[in-house]
Symmetry: C2
Subunit: 439 residues, 2 copies
């Protein structure tokens, strides 16, 4: 795509139009912070946008509500497994209802027209999978009609309504998903305000030379999100990708009145997550991610027969052990296989117990478990068309004498397991090797 067209698209994006602004729990932790949010909203309204704001519960609120639910569910030694998630949803969704009303009141006090929308009022129609419902349809005709009257919509995030008129919630972090779904329905851009000012090439706490990306593709953001960069909920990125919602990650703690808030210089105040064709100068590698506190478990000399993976991972799933990276290869004898996977360090004992219990079904020779490994990932949409990305990774780590314990790849990502002690060294070396230090 030529640069001229990209600039044209960018200009279309920053033009006045509909805008969804999403603020998380720490951004609305008390009334003073809600006022700060309102100033961000006022800036966009003053710039001529039709604005819908999506808010989370005030930080701490959801935890308190969940605590009460758990206490209630434990009555008479009752099992939490019997919890009615419809009731959980009704209790927990009240948190976002409170914030949306308070923000509407603050906006009104500042002289703006505003009203709150509970999920059931929009309505944000979802499946009946309470506690982790999926959004089916967002009917926002009334909200759009109210935009025409100059009204700001303040929607309670994280919640919806099922077909039988019960309150549903979308699961933790679901407000990101609410915001993207609403933006898709409104044909709006979606700004996610968070406690960081964008997506970085790596964690700045490890590599001070990390740079904020001005743009990143949906695919890259998906990999980053699922690799543990806690900037956006994975589902919200998937949804944005499907509906091509331009998504911007930006800081809610920057002054609402600081220059460059409207991004007129073309770079924007945060990181724009968008279709790759809107990224003019694609990097081969756009970021280095890491995830610590993992443990590696190898199941050795498993009979190489159909169903053996199910025999291993079925019982682990049943025991609620979350498995991340899985590698299988042929063992030295050529007849059996070794299966290696990672779990969270805290789950290592439980995982081993589950496997020992299932030994007869699986039929393995031995289990080897090593806590304290880290997963280092190199992500970049450009690696689809560039050779040598993987070999550069391996060479860089080898130059630092870092041993690679396992490798997995996707189309736009290479992940390796290494000794946790080398995490920072590996991240910095890779960040430099792919030229991410340079502007």
């Amino acid at each position: 795509m030529c640069r001229a067209r990209a600039l044209l698209l960018w200009k279309a994006w920053i033009k006045v139009g509909r805008l969804v602004m999403k603020f998380g729990g720490t951004s609305v932790a008390d009334v003073e912070r809600i006022r700060n949010v309102a100033r961000h909203v006022a800036r966009e309204v003053d710039a001529g946008h039709q604005v819908a704001v999506v808010v989370s519960a005030m930080s701490g609120t959801t935890d308190r509500l969940v605590g009460w639910v758990n206490e209630a569910a434990a009555t008479g030694g009752s099992n939490l497994a019997k919890l009615d998630w419809r009731e959980y949803d009704s209790v927990v969704a009240s948190g976002e209802q409170i914030t949306s009303g308070l923000l509407a009141i603050v906006l009104q006090a500042m002289g703006y027209k505003a009203r709150s929308w509970a999920g059931w009022q929009v309505p944000m129609k979802t499946s009946d999978a309470h506690g982790s419902a999926r959004i089916l349809e967002v009917e926002c005709d009334q909200m759009i009609a109210n935009f025409e009257q100059g009204e700001v919509a303040v929607m309670a995030g994280f919640q919806g309504i099922s077909e039988d008129s019960r309150i549903t919630t979308l699961g933790r972090g679901g407000s990101d998903t609410s915001a993207v779904a609403l933006a898709a329905a409104l044909d709006a851009r979606c700004d996610i305000y968070t406690d960081v000012d964008g997506v970085y090439t790596t964690d700045p706490r490890i590599e001070p030379k990390a740079r904020k990306a001005s743009r990143i593709s949906y695919e890259e953001m998906l990999e980053l999100a699922s690799l543990g960069a806690k900037v956006l909920q994975t589902r919200s990125v998937e949804l944005a990708m499907v509906y091509k919602v331009p998504l911007q990650v930006r800081s809610s703690f920057e002054s609402p009145d600081s220059p460059n808030q409207n991004g007129e210089d073309g770079s924007g105040p945060g990181t724009l997550v968008c279709d790759e064709e809107n990224i003019v100068e694609q990097q081969v590698v756009s970021g280095i991610a890491y995830s610590r506190d993992e443990a590696k478990i190898s199941v050795r000399r498993v009979k190489d027969k159909p169903g053996v993976s199910a025999a291993i991972f079925g019982p682990l799933a049943a025991a609620n052990v979350s498995v991340d990276m899985i590698v299988q290869n042929v063992s030295a004898d050529g007849e059996t296989a070794n299966i290696t996977f990672t779990v969270a360090n805290k789950d290592i004992d439980r995982a081993i117990a589950v496997l020992e219990d299932a030994k007869k079904d699986i039929g393995f020779a031995e289990i080897e478990a090593s806590p304290g490994v880290a997963k280092i990932s190199v992500i970049g949409i450009g690696m689809r068309s560039h050779a040598g990305v993987a070999s550069r990774m391996f060479k860089t780590l080898a130059d630092k004498s870092i041993n690679i314990q396992a490798i997995t790849t996707s189309e736009i990502k290479i992940s390796v397991l290494i000794d946790e002690a080398y995490t920072e060294l590996a991240v910095r070396a890779l960040h430099s090797a792919y030229g991410l230090d340079k502007a």
Copy 2:
């Protein structure tokens, strides 16, 4: 009415049927207390009743929510008068939503079928007078269908939904009214669980010989409620009277398993508020009420012309000064009138300032204000048909040398103003004079 028929009615009342149980904020203050509530509910379900529970917000919750609303509304020095009560209602109603979900969860953990109902889910249809909405219609077909499946309904009190699908609230104490309205719609009896175990002949803190009334008429309860006996909200009693809902006031802190909880001995565990024809042995006087911290204001030598009352009480209402007892009589000169009324002690300076401001419109000679008066009231439905009730009151007070400063009467009530210092003496003397000490 003959005693036999009354007993028959009573038996009909205690027979198995539909039952609304209402619990206030202190009864559901934490999960442990919600469990206690659930045990009361379980007892009634086990007895074969179809039960709907109406709950308030956990005590402290409403105050916290209202505090946030006020803080939000004060943004930028904005005037609270501009507060959008639709948003107030949406924020504040979340408190009852939380409690209803938690109680449903506890009941389920105890093995009972239960579900929560937010006001908008029932729906409890109300006017759009946000903050103090009036109930228009309760549609409870689905709730009744669920009763048939053995399900307990747990309804969030205090709230409803307006015609344009906004959340409304009924005003402070509105959960009593929710409960009575639901009971009327369900054709159910209504038990109001509170921190006292019934309605007493007077305040037991003043007169230890005070006895719990087993029955009291709606009319008497209305007078008691409006005289400051904070057992029931006035509107709930009005509603119960109109729809002839049998209302029982009983204690939520008594053990759910103590004997006599089902009232099979015919007296019931609390006080039944009912139609007077269901009260077998009517007392002439059923109770002595008092209200302290009042101030008496006399406006002297007001021109006795049409509109003068409006000229006095209009400005006071506009200044939000609540006026209670009003007495008007001709002054000594025979041409002008003296108007005496009471306000709360705390409002006395404001009331005088308002009257001085309006002096030209009213045209009075002087204002006399005395703080520190008490209102003592004798209430009894029997006084409609018995002479001498008032004269006994006056004589009893005279015998104790208590001066009466003003008198008002209704069909079933006589109220007098006296010096606050004599409150206890007056209450005890009257309690004894009307024979209320004796069982």
